[in-house]
Structure formats: structure tokens, C-alpha cells
């Protein structure tokens, strides 16, 4: 796909979504959501208020922590499971099934472990976001072409040099894909965490809006979250593509 085609596709999808949104509004009325243009105007207004930023910083910091923890732990575990076949063969199906269960069911446990507050949100982000990072990394290490490792041995690399100069660069594109998926899921995890048990953050704003029938606020905050998530995801996708293109 060329850049221009990508831009065109993006615009078309955006227009289609706006049309659906407008149609939904016509159907459900202002008790359920506000129309696109009014929402966008209110969202911009919100972005100028310190109250919004108070909540947003809470969310962003929890999100940043959960992405960092997911990335570091996920890559380390993935490399480790991948390097030791036996551990990998045991861990992979377990992680895959863990990945498919609705993580909401783990939330009470998380609350008991971490209490109310930012650490529970972060933990919830991590249980969503870390597993894909582990799985992608593990898969990449397991599927590395054996001849690359044989080349490393024939070039007389030490195990540490092999890890650093062959293994890691060989799996980097896959790790980037895992991070991209993990990134979105971390955001989801943190927001859900805030919706369940928190007095701060974007997730709380949304749930609070719903409870107080503040449709304008709920829709505008949701819009902001979507724009942020889509923007960040496209940036990561572009990076991802560039890494894959090289190889």
C-alpha cells in the first residue's frame, strides 16, 4: 500500500465512521450520545480545562508505567521462554489460554493484591498488555532461522554476543508488533481499571458521566480516547512496517 492510498483509505474510514455516528445519533437521540460536530467542539473545550488534565495525567502516568512494565517483563520473559525450549513449551499454551480469558474476572484479585489506587490500575494494564509481548517475543525466538544462529557460531560469537547482535535484532520486528498490540491492551486495561474502582482518571470520567447522565461529557471523553489510541497505534504501525520492511 502506498502512502497516498493509505491516506485515502484512512479518510474514507473516517467519513464512514462519522456517518455511522451521525446515524446512531438520529436513531438513539441525545439521551445516548451527542452528534459529531458538537462533541468535537466540547472535546476541544475540555482539553483546555485543568480538571480534565488532572484526570488525564493520572491515566497517562498509569498507562506509561504499565506499558514500560509490560515491555520490559514481556520481552525478558519471551526471550527466556524462547531460549529454553522446555520452559517455552510449558509456558506458551498457558499464556495463550490466559490471553483468551476475560481479564475482568481477575480484577477482584488485583484489587485484593494491590488495593485501590494507581498500582491496581497499572497491574490491570500489565495483565492485559504483557501477554501479547511475551507471546510475540517467544514466537519470534522459536521461529528464528537456525542458519542465523549457525552463522553466529561460525563467526565465533560468544553466547552474550549472539544474544545481543543476532537474536535481539532478528526478533526485533516481531517484538515491535507485540509491543503495538500490548500498547493498545495496556490502555484498555488501565481504562477498565479506572472504571471499576477509582476516583481519578479518564476511565472514571467516562463512568461518572454515564452515572450522572452527562452524555456530552461521556461522548467527548470517549472521542478524545479514540483519537489518542488511533493516533498512537498508527504511529506504532508505521514503525512496525518499517522494521518489517527491512527484513
Amino acid at each position: 500500500m502506498t502512502r497516498r492510498e493509505g491516506l485515502l483509505d484512512g479518510t474514507l474510514i473516517l467519513l464512514a465512521m462519522l456517518a455511522v455516528w451521525q446515524a446512531l445519533y438520529q436513531y438513539a437521540g441525545s439521551a445516548a450520545l451527542t452528534p459529531p460536530w458538537a462533541t468535537a467542539r466540547y472535546a476541544v473545550e475540555l482539553l483546555g480545562t485543568p480538571t480534565f488534565w488532572g484526570h488525564a495525567t493520572q491515566t497517562l502516568s498509569a498507562f506509561a508505567w504499565s506499558v514500560a512494565i509490560s515491555a520490559v517483563l514481556g520481552i525478558a520473559l519471551g526471550l527466556w521462554f524462547g531460549a529454553f525450549r522446555f520452559a517455552g513449551d510449558v509456558a506458551e499454551p498457558m499464556l495463550a489460554s490466559l490471553y483468551t480469558i476475560p481479564k475482568v474476572t481477575l480484577y477482584p484479585v488485583m484489587l485484593l493484591l494491590f488495593g485501590l489506587g494507581p498500582s491496581a490500575k497499572i497491574a490491570f494494564g500489565v495483565i492485559h498488555g504483557m501477554i501479547p509481548v511475551v507471546l510475540f517475543t517467544l514466537g519470534a525466538v522459536k521461529n528464528i532461522r537456525p542458519v542465523l544462529l549457525r552463522a553466529a557460531r561460525s563467526l565465533r560469537l560468544s553466547p552474550m554476543q549472539t544474544a545481543r547482535f543476532v537474536l535481539v535484532p532478528a526478533v526485533l520486528p516481531e517484538i515491535a508488533s507485540g509491543l503495538r498490540v500490548g500498547f493498545s491492551l495496556c490502555l484498555l486495561g488501565v481504562l477498565i481499571g479506572e472504571m471499576f474502582a477509582s476516583q481519578r482518571g479518564i476511565g472514571f470520567l467516562i463512568i461518572n458521566g454515564i452515572n450522572s447522565h452527562n452524555v456530552k461529557l461521556t461522548t467527548a471523553v470517549t472521542l478524545i480516547v479514540i483519537v489518542f489510541a488511533v493516533g498512537a497505534n498508527s504511529a506504532l504501525l508505521a514503525l512496525d512496517r518499517r522494521l518489517h520492511h527491512r527484513g
Binding site: V147, R150, R153, S154, L155, R156, F165, A170, L172, G247
Partner: protein
């Protein structure tokens, strides 16, 4: 042969791949490769040629027997001074041609100016100068194989092991690459072990050709070509070339038939 010392020595070398099926892939092999010799191995596919390269390089242990390189036993790791070019493409896809070729030198901690000098030379030698900044994905299979040859070459190995390096090339390019390989061999004075499935390539390039039986591979014939050291691909029109190729084929014919199940 008599005045030169043996560079690599194999004695009673066999290799059985462990596991439930226990594939006896190679040997027993007894072979002396002289220092500076150009030795080629031909044999039906699946007869154990790559297995031979692996054990000689120290990438896989022999099941029985011993291997020595420059008088030292080869065990468990690739000895210093041995360079390997694999049958499959082993170029690193995340590095440019230049960085691929520089890879081994950088791991040795060689200073940057010397790395540049050697890499430029090797890249030019392999005809890759116009592609120095390209990534392997942008190159043909044959060019990637040349990147791997250059990556091995810059380390100035004294024994170069090549596993069907020109398999992906057309006949004309193969002949020309053969000339380059001869030039490289003459200039460096290295010992070369070339695995190939092309009888003409073996006949044209080598001082000596070992013909392997079908699996488990053993040498069933060793053919001395008697070519002068400064030969090139033009010897294909020499009468002796036809005779050598014919002898290789007559040794190989029944074995090849076994390999395709008509033995």
C-alpha cells in the same frame, strides 16, 4: 600433495543424527586435505555433504572418529581460522550489505579504519560495491550468497568451507563466480573445501574431487585433476576437462540412482 602438510585431517569420522529415527548420515570418512588445496565434494543429494561440513567446522560433533585442523582437535566450536559459507542464505536481514560484511570484524574489536578498508575490498571483490547500502531483502539470492562469502572472506580464514554457494545462480554466473573463487583462493593461499552438486564446477575448480556414496556418505572415489594453479573457467574446453567430468559421473551414476530409489 607430498610436500605440503595436511591442513585438516579426518579419521574414522561418522555422524548419526540422534533421536528416535537415528539417521546414519555420514561416514566413516578418512580424509587429509592439504594446506592450500582446493578440494571439492560431490555426491547425490541427502548423502551427508552438509553433515560433513558441519562436523569439519566444529558446528556438530562427530558420533565417532576425530577431526584435526592445523594439528589441533576440533571439538565443540568453530576453530579460529575456519570460515563457513552455508547452503542456506545466512545474511543478516537487519543489516546492510556493508554492515553484514563488517559484522565479524566489529565483533573482534578491530579499529574502524581497518574495518572500512577490508570491507571495501571484500565488497568490491564480490561485485557488491553498488549495493553496499542495500538490505539483503533488496538483493537476489545469488547476491545474498555473495554477501555471506564476503562476510567470511574479510576474516581471512585459512580454511574456507563452502556449501553449494552457487546453487541459486544460473550456469553462466556460476562459471564466472567460479573464476572469482579461484582468484580468491590464489590470492589468499587459503585451503578451500567446496561442496557442490555440479560436476563441471568440481572438475573445473578443484585440485582434487571427492565423490561421495549415497547416505551414509563415504568417499568412493578421489579424483586428482592436475590443473595448474592459475587456471580459470576456460579450461572447460580442455580435453582433460571432459575426461575428468566423465570419470566423476561414472563414479556417481549408480549412487545417484540409489538416491532416487532406482538402486
Amino acid at each position: 600433495m607430498t610436500e605440503t602438510a595436511a591442513h585438516a585431517v579426518l579419521r574414522g569420522v561418522t555422524r548419526v543424527y540422534p533421536g528416535t529415527s537415528q539417521v546414519h548420515a555420514l561416514g566413516p570418512i578418512d580424509l587429509d586435505i592439504a594446506k592450500g588445496e582446493f578440494f571439492s565434494v560431490v555426491g547425490p543429494s541427502g548423502c551427508g555433504k552438509s553433515t560433513l561440513l558441519d562436523v569439519l567446522a566444529g558446528l556438530n560433533p562427530p558420533t565417532a572418529g576425530t577431526i584435526a585442523f592445523e594439528g589441533e582437535p576440533v571439538a565443540g566450536s568453530v576453530p579460529d581460522g575456519v570460515g563457513v559459507v552455508f547452503q542456506e542464505d545466512a545474511s543478516f536481514p537487519w543489516l546492510t550489505v556493508r554492515d553484514n560484511v563488517a559484522f565479524g570484524l566489529r565483533r573482534l574489536g578491530m579499529d574502524a579504519a581497518e574495518v572500512t578498508r577490508r570491507v571495501d575490498y571484500a565488497v568490491g571483490f564480490m561485485g557488491l560495491a553498488d549495493f553496499a547500502g542495500a538490505y539483503p531483502a533488496q538483493l537476489s539470492g545469488g547476491m545474498r550468497q555473495r554477501v555471506c562469502i564476503a562476510r567470511t572472506l574479510v576474516l581471512q580464514p585459512r580454511l574456507i568451507l563452502l556449501d553449494e554457494p552457487f546453487g541459486a545462480l544460473d550456469q553462466q554466473t556460476r562459471l564466472l563466480m567460479g573464476d572469482e573463487l579461484l582468484r580468491l583462493w590464489r590470492e589468499t593461499g587459503a585451503t578451500v573445501l567446496l561442496i557442490t552438486h555440479a560436476l563441471d564446477e568440481a572438475a573445473m575448480l578443484s585440485d582434487r574431487v571427492g565423490v561421495m556414496s549415497s547416505r551414509p556418505g563415504r568417499f568412493i572415489d578421489l579424483v586428482e585433476t592436475g590443473w595448474p594453479r592459475d587456471r580459470d573457467s576456460r579450461i572447460v574446453s580442455d580435453a582433460a576437462f571432459g575426461a575428468i567430468t566423465a570419470r566423476l559421473w561414472s563414479s556417481l551414476r549408480t549412487e545417484s540412482m540409489k538416491a532416487i530409489g532406482r538402486g
